[in-house]
Amino acid sequence: VRPTEVSGRGVIELLTFLHQGPRRDGVDYSGGYPVAAVGLVEQPGLRIAASVAGERGAIHLGAEVRLDWREVDGRPIPLFRLLDATSTAPVSESGSESGSGSGSGSTSDGPR
């Protein structure tokens, strides 16, 4: 087992919106706080869980995302950003491979 660098790109394979939960800085439950498990493009079935930045309507199963970071209390917290609000890939394991071609935008393209 050894650390391996990955692109941070993936597809939302599991998703919920939390309407209540423990109080935390930077977490807003009004309207639903998104939490996703993202399947990384490098390895089918390997998922990372984090929140997703973007408009509520654009965050959905199959959306392509890229890992970003935000700082809360001086600590880096992983956060995914939408690559392209219109992209949709299948949410099955193999979908993370087939979906990697269409999301060519940089993180700055994603809605904030």
Binding site: L14, R24, A37, S51
Partner: protein, 398 residues
């Protein structure tokens, strides 16, 4: 998968007892709830402390129960993590193997300050649980408070529910029917904490908690406990109630031990449970009279319908709709088999499958009062969710 089942029908449940379920009890502790339930179970079995030589519970230490009840000597004890199948399967194995002859089995639920406003106002409860973010963290099953941006513990059930609706094209009504079924059945259960009617309109208006699960999709926090007395079928013949035989029992787990890494619902522990249970059992699905699929989250029950064989993957939502009794507002499989007759975790109260098991025993003894299903001879009880606690038991009348 091996069909070996030397314990088949050799061990019986001969006593049940409970500490009544409540949403607003005060002045109780986990220990007092378990003491009340275990004493009741022993009395129900017509046995005394001196007859017990095995103890198997969830969070309250076996030694504490032994001391509280004055059980002079035990030769076997254990505290496996919740949920109830872990305790029952261990006790059945211990009795069958001769580690003990008569075992007490128990599980309790205790509202922690975060569970409800009433619990948060109870100063005793706040002090008793000081420093415990989530009592389930002590279960050793991955239930931890890990912050709102993770998918561990209870939260991923909502994410898997969303994925289920997405993949099979359902709307929330398929979850709602599970909740309404539990509520309709709870009306006849005096121990249920929610007994008022629940309509689909009520359900759809329910406060959203974790999409797509609303407040009615999630088990009710309560104080309460259940206890069972387990002994050999041979010894059971001398006891006051008709014994309920443990025909087949199993646990099930896959190598996806982490919720967000579970590949799909074909790789969940429920699949392992169903395969093993039917391998060990002489009874087939068509022989089952009562079904108790755990519904701590409503989507878990739909998955159980699929895995035990009532329908295929993704068909659980449609199956429940097709087998809906509009008069009783509940599920009636083939017009015959009721589901979660006690009101389940969603309406009797959330005790991680213990209430389902107790209800199955009462039904098979013919002692379920206004809920009694005529001629019920066998029950399929499937506690637990997807990841680390899937379990199954087939119980039958002798």
């Amino acid at each position: 998968m091996s069909e070996r089942n030397p314990a088949k029908d050799q061990v019986a449940i001969v006593g049940v007892g409970l500490s009544p379920y409540s949403r607003d009890r005060r002045g109780v502790t986990p220990g007092s709830l378990v003491a009340e339930a275990t004493v009741a179970a022993l009395r129900d079995a017509g046995l005394g402390a001196g007859d017990v030589d095995g103890i198997c519970g969830s969070m309250v230490a076996a030694q504490l129960v032994q001391a509280a009840l004055g059980i002079p000597a035990v030769t076997w004890f254990a505290n496996p993590p919740a949920v109830i199948g872990n305790q029952m399967v261990a006790a059945v194995a211990a009795v069958a193997a001769g580690m003990c002859e008569t075992a007490l089995v128990y599980h309790h639920a205790y509202r922690l300050p975060w569970a409800s406003r009433a619990a948060a106002r109870d100063p005793f409860r706040r002090r008793a649980t000081l420093g415990v973010a989530d009592a389930r963290s002590g279960w050793g099953t991955g239930h931890v408070e890990a912050g709102p941006s993770s998918l561990v513990g209870a939260v991923p059930y909502a994410a898997w529910a969303q994925r289920y609706l997405h993949d099979y094209g359902y709307d929330r009504e398929v979850l709602g029917r599970v909740a309404i079924n539990s509520r309709s059945n709870a009306a006849a259960n005096p121990n249920a904490v929610f007994r008022g009617a629940l309509s689909m309109e009520d359900y759809l208006d329910g406060r959203m908690i974790r999409e797509p699960l609303c407040v009615f999709d999630m088990d009710v926090p309560i104080d309460g406990a259940d206890a069972f007395v387990v002994t050999t079928t041979e010894r059971a013949a001398d006891l006051p109630h008709p014994p309920v035989l443990v025909h087949a029992a199993t646990l099930g787990h896959t190598d996806y031990g982490s919720e967000e890494q579970l590949a799909d619902l074909d790789h969940a522990g429920q699949v392992v449970v169903a395969r093993k249970l039917w391998a060990k059992s002489d009874l087939r699905l068509a022989d089952i009279d009562l079904f108790y699929p755990y519904e701590g989250f409503s989507n878990i029950a739909l998955s159980w319908f699929e895995n035990v064989g009532y329908c295929g993957r993704g068909e659980g939502g449609a199956f429940v709709a097709d087998h809906w009794d509009p008069v009783g507002q509940r599920i009636l499989i083939d017009g015959r088999i009721p589901v979660n007759t006690n009101g389940g975790s969603l309406s009797e109260g959330g005790t991680q499958g213990a209430a389902h098991l107790r209800e199955a025993v009462l039904q098979l003894r013919g002692e379920a009062g206004g809920r009694q299903v005529d001629g019920a001879r066998s029950a399929l009880v499937t506690p637990g969710g997807y990841y680390f606690n899937s379990q199954g038991m087939i119980l039958r009348a002798p």
